[in-house]
């Protein structure tokens, strides 16, 4: 299997996520889906949890999906995918499913994964179903109006964790969802962003070649909810990685590896930028720049540093 990804060739193919969807201008989610579908070769079935992606791509009577697709409910992308996986195994045993290989890909937001969807995800991984779960993380319940989720970082202003006079944004840290999946000993877990497209595509390709439950945590900057200009979506993703707020890594059979920009930073620690570089370009953190809230930035920097140094150890760096 060739690991070379030829963009010129891929660009000539017809897109499987069609234009005419109603996601916001500058949304990272459709870019993520596009990149995933470019490397998902052969028969593919998408299971999509309720959320921005699902709602904006299937407003009746239109659909933007040129692949088989099902939306069930909010918290059950993983269990629906499990059902599809079981069906295919049974139909293959009966001799009616003609394909040797099929990609079952579940797309869910941080809403449908961190919180309400965690049980289904955990159960599906424990049972070892063959599917790739892609979490497109825009760090809040964006589709219902920017409410906080377990994936919202500390200090971020959301409608249910507003930057108030007494409480400056979300008091809790972002739940380490990918670590939770690693703790399940899933065969392949990785983080990615659409800005680091080659890394993302490579990880998807690798994941789809592995049997069992795979998990990809993809950062999905949201101009609307993170309050930044739609044109800098990819820049925001890049700075998230540059500050080690969202490191790029993969976990496969007990081995941790840093990838792409995060690997470069590990080898060259002076490339690491302070987390304030990430915070100051987004309106959702604007209140943290006030003097009375600077302690939150310090706490966030400590947390990012602790997680990064732990990651360095696991990946074999000092």
């Amino acid at each position: 299997m060739s690991s070379v990804i030829n963009i010129r060739e891929l660009a000539k193919k017809e897109p499987k996520l069609l234009p005419g969807h109603r996601l916001c201008a500058g949304c990272a989610a459709p870019v993520i889906v596009k990149l995933v579908l470019l490397v998902a070769e052969g028969p593919t079935i998408i299971v999509n949890a309720t959320g921005c992606l699902e709602v904006a791509t299937t407003i009746f009577p239109y659909t933007s999906w040129k692949v088989p697709w099902i939306h069930n409910a909010f918290e059950n992308a993983a269990s629906t995918a499990a059902g599809v996986d079981a069906a295919i195994k049974a139909l293959r045993r009966r001799g009616v499913f003609k394909h040797d290989k099929v990609n079952i890909v579940a797309f869910a937001g941080d809403g449908g994964t961190y919180d309400i969807g965690l049980q289904a995800l955990s159960g599906a991984i424990e049972r070892g179903h063959n599917f790739l779960y892609i979490l497109y993380d825009n760090e809040a319940y964006m589709n219902t109006g920017i409410q906080r989720s377990g994936g919202t970082p500390m200090g971020a202003a959301t409608t249910t964790s507003p930057a108030g006079r007494v409480i400056p944004g979300k008091p809790q840290h972002k739940k380490p969802i990918a670590d939770i999946v690693v703790a399940h000993k899933a065969p392949y877990v990785a983080t990615a962003t659409p800005a680091h497209w080659m890394d993302l595509m490579r990880k998807v390709k690798k994941a789809l070649s592995i049997e069992g439950p795979k998990f990809l945590h993809v950062l999905s900057p949201c101009p609307r909810g993170w309050r930044h200009d739609p044109s800098i979506t990819m820049e925001v993703a890049k700075i998230a990685v540059d500050t080690c707020y969202f490191p790029l890594w993969e976990y496969e059979n007990g081995v941790w590896r840093l990838t792409d920009r995060s690997l470069a930073i590990a080898k060259n620690p002076q490339l690491k930028k302070p987390v304030e570089e990430f915070l100051k370009i987004q309106g959702r953190f604007r209140h943290l720049l006030q003097p009375e809230n600077r302690h939150v930035i310090e706490k966030l920097q400590e947390y990012v540093d602790a997680v990064w140094s732990d990651l360095l150890k696991r990946a074999g760096f000092k």
Partner: protein, 90 residues
């Protein structure tokens, strides 16, 4: 705006009636990207990053599909040779 269908005309099981390519989102934008073909090095980064699948590569040239482009400006921002400029939509 097409006529709304009655229940008898709907396919079973909530299947859709059309692909979204019939829904032109081009009227969303307030700025439109213009590609300077002289400067363009055909790296296709704009194609990779476009959320609307509205950058088109035909094997020779990079063009914008203005039927769907929402004017987000990511292409202009990410172009390594600054070949794309965002101009106000008239």
């Amino acid at each position: 705006m097409s006529e709304l269908k009655g229940w008898r005309a709907l396919p079973i099981g909530t299947l859709p009636l059309k692909f979204s390519t019939e829904f032109k989102t081009g009227d969303w934008r307030t700025f439109r990207p213009i590609i300077n073909q002289e400067k363009c090095v055909k790296c296709l980064l704009c194609w990779i990053y476009c959320p609307e699948m509205s950058i088109v590569w035909d094997g020779e040239k990079v063009t914008v599909n203005y039927d769907f482009c929402k004017g987000c400006g990511i292409c202009a921002r990410e172009c390594p040779v600054k070949a794309i400029s965002m101009v106000p939509e008239r």
